[in-house]
Each structure stands twice: as structure tokens, then as C-alpha cells.
């Protein structure tokens, strides 16, 4: 693919006219619902201020509600309308809640009564369907859980609801998170809002597409080997994979327990950060969740000194050499190199860093993830819930229920994992992969001792065509090369759109991955926020909704 990069961005523009960065690119909801177009606005007492909050949809929502510029119901209606309009093309949702408007009206009544609002009040959140929701089906994109509604909310969902967030619905995914295109959903294929003939990435393709197409404001995904970051890259949104243990996994249907994390999607770094803050923290229901204090990530978004010409001065950034090798799309390489230049202009010191163990990550990941999944998916036996195929005897019932309930990619991974854990093979596969994992953790540690953050592409290419890799699992697995190492090391990483390559009606977004030290999400958010706010001539609104969104 030949790259057609945007013209190199220059900071001169930024320096000469810093106020341009304050441009308030709010999302204009569809006017069809009300005679007058409604727009977000800052609350009155801040309207004098030259620093409106940001282009964060979450903060804008809050300001709109508090200033009574918009009601929660108006906001919800506008999003639901757009959702309904887009959904036939995108198919990002497996289930849309029927109580969104009721919740919005309830919120409006609270506002009327001047009651205190939670920090996510009125924020419309979509949830990946492998995350349990008590009032909505949660199928993980699998037939084996068709019609299954859990009796409890995942901890992350519970926290969002408690802070006032409204769950819009459940988004499509590769079955149990196993896939990189969302084509492995048992129910439907989700399209990429930038070009509906292309995949949105995966496995959190539904959550990425929904945010990209403004069917919701933010969403939750899960990331076992890149399932938040790669679709964020394909759909041109911000995707944040937190440190392993930062967010409770309770209620996330396990794929590979030692790698799984719940992550966040937003149209801005700020939104991803605010959502992460909302769902982070120790959970007594998840023994692997960290007791570390959760810093106030939003501090990273306001502390930016806009007048400073080199806001990231002294920051050491390592560009991972192995991620720019053969096999990576030249357009992607150019976009990332340009992003590196951009970071340099912001004052960073960018150097190339080598992670020699990088290429070992992919096979180690697929051994470990498959092994754990073969165990985690044992519970889907048709005995207590989900689909049961009646049979003449016990073994047949197990076999038939599972044969019918699981799709081919899931079966492939269960078989791979079962094999890797079998007596006589354990040492050669599982144990060896664990050793590789330790090597990778160490090499990241070394690199992050010398650098504040590491950068790389989020994926070797931009979004590809639906069906292109469907019958070539190895090619699809290879696409995870950029992301799996981060899961093996348990580190936080953020992907944000940094440029475009040719393709589709309006070009295809390319994501830049920033990797930080464990529990250093704050630094990632700060750097990404400044990067995002200083990025010129790039507007990551997909053509599907470009007309609606000013």
C-alpha cells in the first residue's frame, strides 16, 4: 500500500496561534430531534475563561447538563437516532438497551432538583458483550451463550453506572475475544465506519466502531493481545489498555486470565482517561486487581502549559526498531515516523530502541492465551446455563453442546491450548512460553528504564477488507505482533490516531501505540493528550457521519 500521508505537521502554526488548539470541536447531535440544533457549551461561569475544558465528550456533556444547555434526554435521543441510522451499515451492537431514555429522563429530573451529579452523568457508554451486564444479554459473541443474561454487573459496569453513566448497549466482538476482525462473532460482522467494506479490527471491533461512528460517547472493550488497541487504530479512535491489575476483571468473561484487561475507547485521550479513572481500582472480587492508588488522570489534561513551546521537553521516547521491520505497511511506518517527528517537535528526545525478544512474543502469546482459554472455556458445558444439546449420554452431551456452541476459531484455540497443556508437551510449549514471557518482561523493563515511553505502530497495517484474512488464521495472528508483547509484560499502552493511509472513501486512520511502565497510565495520557491537541490537519471523524458532525 502506498502511503499518502498528510503533509508533515508543523508546530509553527501551533506556536503562532496557540488558541487554535482550544477550538472546541464538540459533537453536534442530530438536529432532527429538535427544531434547533443543540450544541455543547461550557457552563456559564467558565464561558469567560479562555480555556474551555477540552474536546472531551464526557466533559462537554457535563458542562451542557450543568449549564442547562442540553438535557440528558436530548443528548440521549440524538445519539440513539444516530445509532439507529448507522447500525444497519455498521452492525456494531448485539443488543441496544431499551432503558436509555428512561435513565436520561431520570437524570434530567435529578438536574431539575439540583441534585449532585456523578462524574459520568449522562455519558452514553457501550459495553463489549463479553463484559457482564445484569439487565442485558451477555453472549461474548458466542452461540453457547445465546440469550444468556448474567445475574450481576461486572465491577467496571457497576462503577460506570454508579457514577451516572448510561449503558447504551452491548457491542459485537470476535467470539470470546478470539480474533482480530470481529468476523468471528457468531452473530454478525461489524463494518469499519471509515469504509464499510473493511473490518473494524478486533476483537473489540463493535466498541471501536460504535465510538468512531458516535453511536455512543465512550465504550469498554477488553484487551488480551491487542483487542482494544488494534481496533482503535483501525477505527481512528483512542484505545487505552491499562496495566494488568489496574481494572477489575470481575465480570469479564475470561479468555486468557493472565493477559485479559478491560480497556477504554474514546474519541479523545481525555475521555479514555476519564473512563479509565472511573473503572480503576482494587476490587475485592478480583484477587489479581492491584491495591495501588489510582491517581487523578484528569490532572494530566489541565496541567498542560499551552504557552510553552516544548511541553514535553526532556521526555525520552524509544521507538521500537523491530516494529518498523519488513511486513509492516510502509504507509504505517511513515505515519509512525512522522508521529515521532511530531513528538520531537514537542520537545521529546526520540531514539530507536531494540527489543530483541520482540518477535518471540507472538508464538508465546498464542501458546499461553490458547492454554488458558482451553481451561477458561471448560465451563461452557451446557449444564448450568447457555445452550445444551440433549444427548443419550453424558459425553455426547458435552461434545454436542460444545461442538454446536463454539465457532471454529474458538475451537482452534481450545484444541491448541489443550495440546500445549497435555502431559509430555507442557514443558515444550506452556512452560517454554512462560520463560519467553519472563524474557519479554525483562527486556521491556530495561527499555523503560531508559525511556519514559516506547512507541510503535498499533498494527502492521490499516484496516483491511472484510473476508481478507478470514481463512488464513496465521496471517491474522501475525497482525497482533505489535500488541501481544505488551500483554505478556502486563504494561499499559495507549493507541491514538496519528495519521492516514490511502484507502476507503476518505483514507484510513493509522494508530500510534505508546507503551508505558506499569501503572504509569498518567504519563501515557499526558503525552497522548498533548500529542492529540497539537496534531494539525487531522480530523478523525469517519465519512459515514462526517456530515452530521461539525
Amino acid at each position: 500500500m502506498i502511503s499518502t500521508l498528510q503533509p508533515p505537521r508543523s508546530l509553527s502554526h501551533f506556536r503562532s496561534n496557540p488558541t487554535l488548539l482550544l477550538r472546541y470541536t464538540s459533537l453536534k447531535p442530530l438536529s432532527s430531534l429538535s427544531s434547533q440544533p443543540v450544541t455543547h457549551s461550557t457552563i456559564t461561569d467558565q464561558s469567560q475563561s479562555p480555556n474551555p475544558p477540552s474536546h472531551s465528550q464526557i466533559l462537554s456533556t457535563r458542562h451542557s447538563l450543568l449549564s442547562r444547555h442540553l438535557t440528558a434526554t436530548q443528548l440521549a435521543e440524538s445519539f440513539l437516532t444516530r445509532l439507529r441510522l448507522n447500525e444497519p451499515h455498521l452492525r456494531s451492537f448485539l443488543h441496544v438497551s431499551d432503558s436509555v431514555l428512561a435513565q436520561a429522563r431520570e437524570l434530567d429530573e435529578k438536574i431539575q432538583r439540583n441534585e449532585e451529579l456523578g462524574p459520568l452523568a449522562g455519558v452514553l457508554v457501550a459495553i463489549k458483550d463479553n463484559i457482564c451486564t445484569a439487565e442485558m444479554p451477555s453472549t461474548a459473541g458466542s452461540r453457547v451463550l445465546e440469550g444468556y443474561t448474567p445475574p450481576y454487573d461486572a465491577t467496571a459496569v457497576r462503577k460506570i453506572k454508579k457514577l451516572g453513566g448510561i449503558v447504551v448497549g452491548k457491542t459485537n466482538l470476535d467470539e470470546f475475544g478470539m480474533g482480530s476482525t470481529t468476523e468471528a462473532s457468531a452473530y454478525q460482522v461489524t463494518a469499519n465506519p471509515w469504509d464499510i467494506s473493511r473490518v473494524p479490527g478486533g476483537s473489540s471491533g463493535g466498541s471501536a466502531a460504535a465510538v468512531s461512528a458516535r453511536q455512543c460517547m465512550v465504550s469498554l472493550g477488553s484487551d488480551t493481545g491487542g483487542s482494544v488497541r488494534q481496533p482503535a487504530s483501525f477505527c481512528g479512535v483512542v484505545g487505552l489498555k491499562p496495566t494488568y491489575g489496574r481494572v477489575s476483571r470481575f465480570g469479564l468473561m475470561a479468555y486468557a486470565s493472565s493477559l485479559d484487561v478491560i480497556g477504554c475507547f474514546g474519541t479523545s485521550v481525555a475521555d479514555a482517561g476519564i473512563l479509565l479513572h472511573a473503572i480503576s481500582g482494587h476490587d475485592r472480587l478480583d484477587a489479581t486487581s492491584s491495591k495501588r492508588e489510582v491517581p487523578d488522570f484528569s490532572a494530566q489534561f489541565v496541567s498542560m502549559n499551552l504557552l510553552e513551546s516544548k511541553p514535553l521537553k526532556g521526555l525520552r521516547i524509544g521507538l521500537i526498531r523491530e516494529t518498523l521491520d519488513d511486513g509492516v505497511d510502509t504507509g504505517v511506518i511513515s505515519a509512525v515516523r512522522t508521529a515521532a517527528l511530531h513528538l520531537e517537535e514537542l520537545g521529546c528526545c526520540v531514539t530507536e530502541v531494540s527489543l530483541p525478544s520482540f518477535s518471540l512474543g507472538l508464538p508465546a502469546y498464542y501458546i499461553l492465551a490458547s492454554s488458558e482459554s482451553s481451561s477458561n472455556l471448560s465451563r461452557y458445558d451446557g449444564v448450568r446455563y447457555g445452550n445444551q444439546v440433549a444427548a443419550d449420554e453424558l459425553n455426547s452431551q458435552y461434545m454436542d453442546s460444545r461442538a454446536k456452541g463454539f465457532g471454529s476459531e474458538v475451537k482452534r484455540r481450545i484444541l491448541t491450548g489443550t495440546y500445549a497443556l497435555s502431559a509430555g508437551y507442557y514443558d515444550a510449549y506452556y512452560k517454554r512460553a512462560q520463560q519467553v514471557r519472563t524474557v519479554i518482561q525483562k527486556s521491556f523493563k530495561t527499555a523503560l528504564d531508559e525511556h519514559d515511553i516506547l512507541i510503535s505502530p498499533a498494527a502492521p497495517s490499516a484496516a483491511y477488507k472484510i473476508g481478507e484474512k478470514k481463512n488464513d488464521p496465521l496471517a491474522m495472528y501475525a497482525g497482533d505482533i505489535m500488541t501481544v508483547n505488551v500483554n505478556l509484560a502486563g504494561l499499559p499502552a495507549l493507541v491514538l490516531p496519528c495519521g492516514f493511509v490511502d484507502g476507503g472513501p476518505a483514507g484510513l486512520p493509522v494508530g500510534l501505540q505508546m507503551i508505558g511502565a506499569a501503572f504509569d497510565e498518567g504519563k501515557l495520557l499526558k503525552v497522548a493528550h498533548i500529542f492529540e491537541r497539537t496534531l494539525q490537519n487531522c480530523r478523525f471523524v469517519p465519512p459515514l457521519i462526517a456530515d452530521e458532525v461539525a
Binding site: 463484559i131 457482564c132 451477555s138 461474548a140 451463550l145 444468556y148 448474567p150 445475574p151 450481576y152 461486572a154 476483571r249 470481575f250 465480570g251 469479564l252 468473561m253 475470561a254 486468557a256 486470565s257 493472565s258 475485592r284 472480587l285 478480583d286 484477587a287 489479581t288 492454554s371 488458558e372 482451553s374 481451561s375 472455556l377 471448560s378 465451563r379 461452557y380 458445558d381 451446557g382 449444564v383 448450568r384 446455563y385 445444551q388 440433549a390 444427548a391 443419550d392 449420554e393 453424558l394 452431551q397 458435552y398 489443550t418 497443556l421 497435555s422 502431559a423 507442557y426 506452556y430
Partner: protein
């Protein structure tokens, strides 16, 4: 909960058994052959811990609750649910590990043992595989005298933590069993019988027990016969009860023994083919099943049919008093163990271990050795140390100054008999150690007679109160005034001239009769020694 303990301990006590011998013709050959063979026995014991909540969730566990009333998303293995370890499980494991003289692993971990079965909701059991929490220990015990007595030391291979599975209720349905189907139903708050009219076979799953913490204790193959094995199990039961980590009840399945047994010609170093026996619900069935199985295997050996002994799991049938094949092993099961990623490693500090070590109660073996040093017979020692509460009662009585042997006799005699008759535990009787000591002292110093003492004892056992109070209320103080006793003696002699004549005529046995009459007259209060002394004087005095 304690009340059930003492009872079952007594009930489950192994009774001496004659070796099972199917036919008299065989039995002679068998007897001869058994001298040439020895059995090698090892035991895997599962001890259910009595923690307030299950191992990995906050559900309580109460034996006998209606099906599926103690369940939650975690122990039902619902999607997205995660285990969190109950720290009491580690505490119990460390206690048992220390009590079994094991080496503790300061860094251990949990693993998943994977297999499919409807009673295993997650499709894997959280267990410990290659790094158990405790290894390489031993247990000391004393065989009861009726089995020949003797001290034994059996090795403990390992102790590890794991979770229990649920229970299956199999239902046989009428005449269509050939084409029956299995319906797996999780009935929450629904009585399973509701669907029993359907003429099919199905299995009902009760997950109340799923996730209840267990300790698996694996012995070395150190036992040689049924009695040793049963006593090993009884000592484990005693130990876990002393430690307070389990009620050790075999009928409820809180203590389950799986026995591995093989037979080899004496002198052979190599083990014979191992057979596993399950379904052993009491110590006596452990003993009898093993002795049956030894006979069976020895017979096969002696008839040159040792090839017939195959690696298999056999079931003890209590009714038929024999073991039958349950399933033959088809190669080794591959459980595909791997480290449990949902749980962090188990790290013990030496401070933590020392804290637990210092809080351990006196254990049965130490107690038995101490009682032995006090001069008690082995029979007394075993009786007193069998039940921690009895031992504590005894110890307190001694502390209050009672004579060791007298206290033992009272406890093992009248008190034990009373408890047995009334089906009470020592904690339920009204008698306190303080009063038992008082009673013994009152007899010893002559305040009351032994006979009165016995009467008071039963009053104290049933109603409580104090020895002093009872003596006062019933005016039971022994009479030691010779003048008063003399008066009674004279009265009895004068009222029985015929007997007196007979006595003096040489029928001296009648002394007892006179003594009884005097005692009766004194309402039992006369000091027996004094009474007899005065009586003899009067009887033998020439008048």
C-alpha cells in the same frame, strides 16, 4: 457442633473384626498364604474445612441445606466470576501441616486440575499440584490394646489445599432406561422430586458443596493392615478436631478416605499392583474393606492368579461386606494441570507460621505422652486423649487438685457411662471439673462416703450444683462420732438377737448384714471404717 463430635468418635471406634474369610476351605489356605505376603497401604484423606465461608466465595456451607441454596456466581462457575481465596483456608492448612510435622512451602501456589463432570462447575478444580503447602511429615499414634497395642509412626507425603465438587443426585427412571437421556438440571430452590415423574434417567446437580475448602492429606504407603489404616484415619480425625479446622465427621463426608492397597510376597521390594478403594464411610469400614481386599489379593497371589489383580478403583459394599470393581483405569488421566492465573501465589512469612505454631493446642500425641508420664495406663491414656474435650475436663480436674488415678476412674467409669446412656458430650453434662475435684477431695478426706459420693455425682451430672451445697442440703456429712455409731450398732444388735446368736455361733459372714443395717440406720452417713471397727468390737464382746 461439638456435641456430634464425641458421639461419632465413640460410635466410629473400630471394633475388633475377625478376618473376612469367604469359605472355610479357602480360609485355611488363605491363612497359610497370608504369612507369605504383606500388604502395602497408603491413604488419601480429604478433610473438609469448617471455615465460615467457602474457599473462593462468600457462600456459607451447611451440611444438609436444600439443594442449591448456598450458591453464587462464583461457586456456580458463571461466566466472568473469579475466585478470591479465603485466608482461613491457608491458616487451617498451615495448622494441619505443622501438626503433621511437615515442611511448609513458604511459596506455594494454586493450579487447575481439569476434567469434565457435571459436579465440577468450572470444568476444573482449583487445587495444588507440584508445590503443595506442606510435605514430608509424619503422624504418631498408639494402637488400642484390643488390637495388640503398640506405637506407630506413619509418613505423610503431602498436604494440599483444594476445593470440593458439588453433589450429583442420580435418578433412575422406570422402564425406558435403555434409551434414557441425561437431563442436567440446576434446580435453584426447587425440590428435585418435582420432575421425577418423567420416565427418563437424569442427574440433578446440587452445587452447595462446590467450592467448599478441602485439605487433601496423602500418606506414605506405611500401613500394613486394616487396623493400622483405620487408626491412622482416626488419628487424623482426632488431629483436625483438636485443631478445630474440621468436624471430621465421616458420615457427612467431612472426612473421606480413599485407600490404595497392594500385596506383595514378603521380601519383595517392588510394590504389587495398586488397587484403590472408595466409599469408606467409617473407620470400621476402612478396616474391614482393607482386610477383605488383602484376602482377595493374597488368594489370587497364592493361586498364581496375580495377573487378575489390575489397577482399578473398587467400591466397598457395606451390605455385602466386600469390594467390587467400580472402574478400571484406562491409562493415566491427563488433568492438564497449570498454574491458576486468577489467584496470586501463596506466600507465608516465618512470622505468620510462627504465630500459628505458637497458638496450636496440645496435640493428641503430646497429650498421650504426658498422660503416660503421669503414670496412667495406656488404656486410660487412649480414652482420655481420644476426645479433646474429655482431655480438657480431665486436665482441669487435675489442676483443681484431684488425684490423677481417681479422676481418671470417675471420668472413665460413671461419667462416661452416664454420657453414653444420656447421649451427651462432656461439654453438655452439668458436672464441672471443679466439682469433680471437690467430690474426689470430699471422699478422700472422709467428709462423705464413696457411696454417697456416687449419689452426689449423678445429681451433679444431671442437675449441676456444688458438692458442698448438696452435702449441706441433704445433710450427707459422714458421721465420725464413735458414740453415735455405737448407739446405732447397739440398736441393730438388740433388734436382731437371732442373727447375733448365729454370728456368735460361728456364722461370722453375718457381719456384713449387721454393717448394712447400721449403715441403713445412719442413712448411709456412718463412716464405714469406724462402723466396722465398733461393730466388730460389739459382736465379739462377751455379754
Amino acid at each position: 457442633m461439638r456435641s456430634a463430635q464425641t458421639q461419632t468418635a465413640t460410635q466410629e471406634k473400630v471394633k475388633p473384626q475377625v478376618k473376612v474369610s469367604p469359605h472355610s476351605t479357602q480360609s485355611k489356605a488363605l491363612e497359610k498364604a497370608s504369612k507369605d505376603y504383606e500388604a502395602v497401604i497408603g491413604i488419601e484423606t480429604h478433610v473438609q474445612l469448617n471455615t465460615l465461608t467457602k474457599a473462593f466465595c462468600s457462600c456459607p456451607y451447611n451440611y444438609g441445606s436444600p439443594p442449591n441454596t448456598s450458591v453464587c456466581p462464583i461457586c456456580m462457575g458463571l461466566p466472568g466470576a473469579l475466585p478470591v481465596l479465603n485466608l482461613k483456608v491457608i491458616e487451617s492448612a498451615v495448622k494441619v501441616g505443622l501438626a503433621l510435622n511437615c515442611k511448609l512451602s513458604l511459596n506455594s501456589k494454586f493450579d487447575r486440575k481439569q476434567y469434565f463432570y457435571p459436579d465440577l462447575p468450572k470444568g476444573y478444580q482449583i487445587s495444588q499440584f507440584d508445590v503443595p503447602i506442606a510435605t514430608s511429615g509424619y503422624i504418631d499414634l498408639d494402637l488400642p490394646l484390643e488390637f495388640g497395642g503398640g506405637h506407630r509412626k506413619f509418613g505423610i507425603t503431602r498436604v494440599h489445599m483444594e476445593e470440593d465438587a458439588g453433589k450429583l443426585l442420580h435418578s433412575e427412571g422406570g422402564s425406558y432406561s435403555q434409551e434414557s437421556t441425561f437431563l442436567f438440571m440446576l434446580t435453584i430452590n426447587i425440590v428435585p422430586l418435582l420432575i421425577s415423574y418423567k420416565r427418563v434417567n437424569y442427574i440433578l446437580v446440587d452445587l452447595n458443596r462446590a467450592g467448599v475448602p478441602l485439605l487433601e492429606i496423602v500418606s506414605e504407603p506405611d500401613m500394613r493392615n486394616g487396623i493400622e489404616a483405620a487408626e491412622y484415619a482416626a488419628e487424623l480425625q482426632r488431629l483436625v478436631r483438636y485443631l478445630g479446622v474440621s468436624n471430621g465427621n465421616m458420615q457427612e463426608g467431612s472426612l473421606r478416605c480413599d485407600v490404595n492397597i497392594s500385596v506383595r510376597p514378603i521380601g519383595q521390594l517392588q510394590f504389587g499392583t495398586k488397587v484403590e478403594i472408595k466409599n469408606l464411610n467409617s473407620f470400621s469400614s476402612v478396616s474391614r474393606a482393607i482386610d477383605y481386599e488383602i484376602s482377595r489379593q493374597v488368594l489370587l497371589h497364592s493361586q498364581g492368579q496375580d495377573k487378575e489383580i489390575v489397577q482399578e478403583t473398587r467400591l466397598w459394599e457395606e451390605g455385602a461386606q466386600k469390594t467390587v470393581t467400580m472402574r478400571k483405569k484406562e491409562g493415566l488421566a491427563d488433568y492438564r494441570y497449570f498454574p491458576e492465573p486468577d489467584l496470586p501465589g501463596v506466600f507465608l512469612t516465618t512470622d505468620y507460621v510462627d504465630g500459628i505454631r505458637n497458638s496450636l493446642p496440645e496435640l493428641p500425641e503430646t497429650k498421650r505422652r504426658r498422660y503416660e508420664m503421669m503414670g496412667l495406663s495406656m488404656q486410660d491414656v487412649l480414652f482420655l486423649a481420644n476426645d479433646m474435650n474429655v482431655a480438657e475436663f480431665f486436665d482441669t480436674t487435675i489442676t483443681k487438685g484431684a488425684d490423677v488415678k481417681l479422676a481418671t476412674n470417675w471420668i472413665m467409669g460413671d461419667i462416661a457411662a452416664y454420657m453414653k446412656n444420656e447421649k451427651l458430650t462432656i461439654n453438655e453434662i452439668k458436672l464441672t471439673p471443679q466439682e469433680l475435684a471437690e467430690l474426689i477431695a470430699s471422699i478422700k478426706d472422709g467428709t462423705i462416703s464413696g457411696k454417697i459420693g456416687k449419689e452426689i455425682l449423678f445429681e451433679l451430672l444431671a442437675k449441676g450444683g456444688t458438692v458442698k451445697g448438696l452435702i449441706e442440703a441433704k445433710d450427707l456429712v459422714q458421721i465420725v462420732d464413735p458414740a453415735e455409731i455405737e448407739k446405732w450398732v447397739e440398736k441393730v444388735l438388740s433388734e436382731n438377737p437371732k442373727q447375733l446368736e448365729q454370728y456368735r455361733g460361728g456364722k461370722t459372714k453375718l457381719q456384713g448384714y449387721f454393717a448394712g443395717q447400721v449403715m441403713k440406720l445412719s442413712k448411709g452417713k456412718a463412716n464405714p471404717g469406724l462402723l466396722n471397727k465398733i461393730l466388730l468390737e460389739k459382736l465379739n464382746a462377751k455379754s
